[in-house]
């Protein structure tokens, strides 16, 4: 690992919300500690939070195992269904991250582009 690579790695890590990280790549070992209070200014965390919006107007139906705060999602995760004219349409996350807020209830009518979930981007696996 050269300086440039290490710097790039730290840049990448800056996006994640962690207190302690230990990274080992071959001979290279890096250990980072962050003070929880001082860690990642609120602004960076805010920027990384995105919403999953409804692709159509209809009635939202939660999965059998409803999404919860903390559920991890990837691009193809089905986060629920929208019923429109008796057709059920899967809603996929189209984002990788961790659900941080549920914005709609099972059976609730939703409009096109209405936010359904808040997801902190990148906190997966």
């Amino acid at each position: 690992m050269n300086d440039k690579q290490i710097r790039a790695l730290i840049d990448q890590l800056a996006k994640y919300d962690f207190i302690h990280a230990q990274i080992k790549i071959d001979d290279f070992e890096l250990s980072l500690d962050r003070d929880q209070l001082a860690s990642g200014s609120n602004q960076t965390v805010e920027q990384a939070v995105k919403t999953i919006n409804s692709p159509m107007i209809g009635v939202f139906h939660a999965n059998e195992q409803p999404m919860k705060v903390g559920t991890l999602v990837t691009d193809n995760t089905v986060v629920g269904q929208i019923e429109s004219m008796k057709l059920f349409n899967d809603v996929t996350a189209s984002i990788t991250g961790k659900v941080v807020a549920i914005l709609c209830d099972d059976g609730e009518a939703v409009q096109f582009d209405q936010p359904l979930f808040k997801v902190a981007q990148g906190v997966a696996d």
Binding site: M56, G58, S84, M85, L87, F112, D113, Q114
Partner: protein, 448 residues
């Protein structure tokens, strides 16, 4: 009476329908695209639902999305306005299947009149004069033979076109041969139906149309006529009510033709039958099975609120007028449109004098979304005579203040002030011919 009506449209016509609903204490539901989030009609409606993105195909033309909004909001009826789904027979059927009243005629009649070749055939079968031409063409040979009989110049028209769309002009057999395949292909891609037919160009025609309304029993009443001759690229620019240059005998003939066409058809709701008036004869052009943009001039001269009447008739809450409402005075409408859209089109100033009736979906400060039609406002004045109405329009236009967008205001002013307009001496081709002449003079001027 209906309790709640969904308006499947946007802009000025949505505002217009909301106004009529308010008078009848009907709650209103607007549906809108993401481009119209801040639009006036969205704020005016009692409830509003975002149904799709800016692209009209995915929002205002999205039948399922519009209907789903109606189901969620639990509406009794849907008013389609004009354009978008207003002449969509399938959508009318879908509304009925969802137990929502469709404010318009039955799907069968929408389909019949929507297919312009079929409508010609129907009119002819009822003894109405149609413009010389053909029904649906089979092949090039058929077209050539028919063209020889009818004579050039001719229009190739798409059966599913109408409203000035899907039309190509041909002056000779070579052009016919060259354009036919293109026209067919274009019709197929634009209207999902490649049927085309021929119609003779009537060289000295005026465009006259008749407003009708039908009750739930299918009885119809004529509500007056309009002169919509002034057009550019087949789009209306200035409309008048009544058509002042036809005689009372000709007016009676028009009314009789309309009854001949629509009696015992079970026609319900508003409709407009368009004719070309050429060498003292009326020829059926097409019928629009919906509320029309220029209905305001008819309202101004008849004193009727025809959207209100339409709602009342559809709810069986009123009776059809027993006689044709008398046309009092003359009304003129100018369509104020956006001409050359720029990157950002924000109405910085948008003021009209009180002497005009102004139907608009915008207010000062609004951004004009680039995705839809270019209509900014309809400006209507009326007076006891045509010349008085012209004078009134002339001075009213001078007081219109619009800034931030490019509009056709100066073009409207010069038409209203012109001798040829004031003397009522113009044809459907006049405006286009004058624009072409002006452009070529302007070009010459530049070269010199």
């Amino acid at each position: 009476m209906f309790k709640k009506v969904l308006i499947a449209n946007r802009g000025e016509v949505a505002c217009r329908i909301i106004r009529a609903c308010r008078q009848l204490n009907i709650a209103t539901v607007a549906v809108y695209s993401t481009a119209d989030r801040d639009a006036l009609f969205v704020h005016q409606a009692d409830e509003a639902y975002c149904i799709g993105p800016a692209n009209a195909k995915k929002s205002y033309l999205n039948r399922e999305a519009v209907l789903m909004a109606g189901i969620i909001a639990n509406v009794d009826a849907i008013h389609p306005g004009y354009g978008f789904l207003s002449e969509d027979a399938l959508f009318a059927k879908m509304c009925a299947q969802c137990d929502i009243t469709w404010l318009g005629p039955t799907a069968d009649l929408i389909e019949l009149m929507g297919n312009k070749a079929a409508a010609r055939k129907f009119a002819a079968s009822r003894g109405i004069a149609i413009i010389p031409g053909t029904f649906v063409l089979n092949d090039l040979d058929h077209a050539k033979q028919a063209a020889k009989k009818i004579g050039y110049p001719l229009l190739i028209k798409a059966s599913q076109g109408g409203g000035g769309k899907g039309i190509r002009l041909v002056n000779n057999v070579a052009q016919l041969q060259a354009q036919l395949a293109i026209a067919r292909q274009e019709a197929g891609s634009s209207f999902a139906n490649n049927e085309i037919y021929l119609e003779k160009v009537l060289q000295s025609a005026r465009h006259i149309e008749v407003q009708v309304i039908g009750d739930q029993a299918g009885n119809i009443q004529v509500l007056g006529d309009r002169d919509c001759t002034l057009q550019t690229r087949r789009q209306k620019v200035i409309e008048e009510s009544p058509a002042t240059f036809i005689t009372q005998a000709q007016r009676r003939e028009l009314v009789q033709m309309v009854h001949q066409l629509l009696d015992n058809c079970n026609y319900q709701g508003l409709g407009t039958i368009e004719f070309l008036f050429n060498q003292d004869r009326f020829y059926f052009l097409e019928m629009n099975t919906r509320l029309q943009v220029e209905h305001g001039v008819t309202e101004t001269t008849t004193g009727l609120d025809i959207v209100l009447l339409q709602l009342q008739l559809a709810a069986n809450d009123a009776r059809l007028p027993d006689y044709i409402p008398s046309n009092e005075g003359v009304a003129i409408e100018c369509r104020l449109t956006l001409t050359t859209p720029t990157q950002v089109n924000q109405l910085k100033m948008f003021n009209f004098p009180a002497t005009m009736r102004v139907d608009t979906g915008y207010q000062a400060g609004d951004f004009i979304p680039p995705f839809y039609d270019s209509l900014l406002a309809k400006m209507i004045v009326s007076a006891p005579t045509r010349s008085k109405a012209i004078n009134k329009m002339n001075s009213a236009l001078a007081q219109v203040r619009i800034d931030g967008v490019q509009s056709n205001l100066s073009q409207l002013q010069s038409i209203i002030a012109s001798d040829w307009y004031q003397s009522n001496q113009f044809l459907v081709t006049t405006l286009d011919a004058r624009i072409t002449t002006n452009e070529s003079t302007a070009k010459k001027g530049n070269l010199d």
